[in-house]
Amino acid sequence: VSEGQPSPGVPIDDTDEQLMAAFVRGSAEAFSTLFARYRQPVYAFFCRRMTDRSHAEELAQETFLAILRARDRYEATALFRTWLYAIALRILRSWRRKAAFRAVFSGTLPVDREPADPRATGSDFVLRDAVRRLDRIDREVLLLREFEELSYAEIATVLGIPVNTVRSRLFRARTALRELLETRPAPSQPGLAKLEEHV
């Protein structure tokens, strides 16, 4: 598995579904190519939804392991990325449930802000904070559309809601996000500097 480099013997222009079919037939190179394509998107998927990067890495790893395990059950009835993000979302929800359950009895609730990261910019913080304030489903629809670039129909499949609901929730999320971003100080403003000191 090499970052961004297709494996030898696997055509670079193969679609995800063709690669997955080859992987089901036993081609390890096909899985390597899929991993190279989706390693960063899956990692980013979790990073945008949780504050702890180590947890994001752990869940990304778990997602690919789930694909390895579920290879024999894969049926090419939907796009590979729809299937992939559905698995990732399921793993994320499961982790959230367990973490919330543990937090109830351990009394350690997660912090609202992400830990200090020297690579994080001010706009990252503002965006994360604004997105966090959205309604849960609205936020998921928005993230799947903006970052995972799923179509409305794919989002509906992944979340199990009607396409019209996806459309209306996406509109509501974008409107709410715009208002949140307009009311918050810009990264270059003094208010943001104080927030950055916090993180």
Binding site: F35, S123, R178
Partner: protein, 445 residues
């Protein structure tokens, strides 16, 4: 921005930017945007929001992610996946086992009698009876003897089978045992003779031992239970009376039941002289189809011997007391005391004599519990009820049942409601706290 003022909805502008519209719809939206400044501004705001989100940068995935997945993939490729047939095969095995178990459970529950019968047959082998032998151990009956001479025990308790075996052994060699027992008891056949002997001996020594009583066969108190399905109860009743009179038997109890819906029946407890039992049972079996038959016997020889011995002792005591009284050698108080003793002993003797009579009667007369049931035949009774009446009756019954159900529900709520309220009051608040914390934690993750 109101939809009524614009032919294009804001969501359609957003969908156009997301390339979710058809070509025709897209052209319509673009045409409107070229004319409407408000909608064009909305489009710019959507685009600026997307551009702002695009600034959210995520660092590159760490190398550890790649190594972990590589290891797992290598392990997966080394270990070929199992064929999918295994799961169905295992499912078949588990399902088959469960199915067989369920079938066994159903069989045991649906046919408990047959199961018990087979189980009993496996535990107790059939008793071998010589053909023509009149089952001396049972006092002459061999009711279940088949043509092949095998006596099958239908649904009989194991203890009864043991009793039969015991009786067979007793029939083969009962006399020696009985002799020894009689010698121990030193039985005097004639009480008067014994009294004279005691009187003649001056009351100090025992009378000379009388001759041994002749050996007796074991005494068996038998009971028979018979269930017969007959075609006509009145005819069966007449035949039953004839059987009783011809075999010198009688009915201790007899109940005739004639329910309105159901089969009439007769439940009787008969007493048949033991020697007549075989022929009487044979006649009873001709009344109809025998559905169940069971026989049991209780050996009361020992009990009878004990009773006889105690009776003899009591009579001896009475005789000695009478001899003392005849001498009139003591004071008045002593004489009165002797008379009182005689009276008490006489009472005991009479009680034991009654017991002996009852015991011997049990041996002489076999108790036969008989149940005659008529084959049920549905009959049209009177004129059929009108459909309207039946529907009305059904409606009334339904309303009554509904009321009963509601009443039962109300009573149940009244009965368990306070307890539930108490527990809700105790557990509700902590549960609400936990649930709130859970929701809050879930919202934060």
């Amino acid at each position: 921005m109101k939809t009524l003022d614009h032919p294009v909805a804001p969501e359609e502008i957003m969908a156009m930017l997301d390339e979710e519209l058809s070509t025709t719809e897209r052209q319509a939206v673009l045409a409107h945007l070229s004319q409407c400044a408000e909608c064009a501004a909305l489009r710019l705001r959507f685009e600026s929001t997307s551009h702002a989100l695009a600034e959210w940068q995520i660092p590159a995935a760490p190398e550890t992610l790649r190594s972990a997945v590589e290891e797992a993939a290598a392990a997966k490729s080394e270990r070929p996946s199992k064929p999918r047939r295994r799961l169905p095969r295992m499912a078949w095995a588990v399902g088959g086992t469960l199915g067989v178990a369920a079938a066994l459970v159903v069989l045991v529950n649906v046919f408990p009698d047959r199961f018990a019968e087979h189980k009993m047959a496996a535990v107790t082998p059939p008793l071998q009876v010589t053909h023509g032998e009149n089952l001396a151990t049972f006092g002459g009956a061999s009711p279940a003897a088949g043509k092949n001479g095998l006596l099958h025990a239908p649904a009989v308790h194991p203890e009864e089978n043991l009793l039969r075996l015991e009786n067979q052994l007793a029939a083969s060699a009962p006399r020696d045992r009985f002799k020894g027992r009689m010698a121990e008891l030193a039985v005097a056949p004639d009480p008067n003779q014994t009294a004279e002997g005691y009187g003649g001996g001056g009351g100090g020594g025992r009378a000379p031992l009388p001759a041994l009583a002749p050996p007796q066969a074991p005494m068996i108190a038998r009971e028979v239970s018979l269930t017969i399905l007959v075609k006509n109860i009145p005819h069966a009743r007449t035949a039953l009376d004839g059987i009783l009179s011809s075999h010198a038997g009688y009915a201790a109890t007899l109940n005739v039941n004639t329910p309105e819906s159901g089969s009439p029946s007769i439940v009787a407890s008969l007493r048949i002289p033991a020697p007549q039992l075989d022929s009487a049972l044979a006649c009873l079996r001709t009344l109809g189809q025998v559905e169940a038959e069971a026989q049991s016997g209780e050996e009361v020889t020992q009990q009878h011997e004990d009773l006889v011995a105690r009776l003899l002792n009591a009579r001896e005591t009475e005789d000695r007391l009478r001899a003392i009284l005849a001498q009139r050698a003591g004071k008045m108080n002593e004489i009165l005391e002797v008379e009182e003793q005689i009276s008490q002993t006489r009472g005991e003797i009479e009680q034991m004599e009654a017991e002996q009579t009852a015991l011997e009667h049990r041996v002489d007369y076999v108790m036969v519990d008989l149940q005659l049931t008529e084959q049920y035949e549905a009959r049209l009774t009177g004129q059929p009820t009108a459909i309207g009446t039946q529907m009305r009756n059904a409606l009334v019954t339904g309303i009554r049942d509904a009321g009963s159900s509601l009443l039962g529900l109300a009573l149940l709520i009244e009965e368990i409601g306070p307890a539930i309220l108490v527990w809700v009051a105790i557990l509700g608040f902590p549960a609400w706290i936990v649930w709130r914390r859970y929701r809050r934690a879930q919202a934060r993750f």
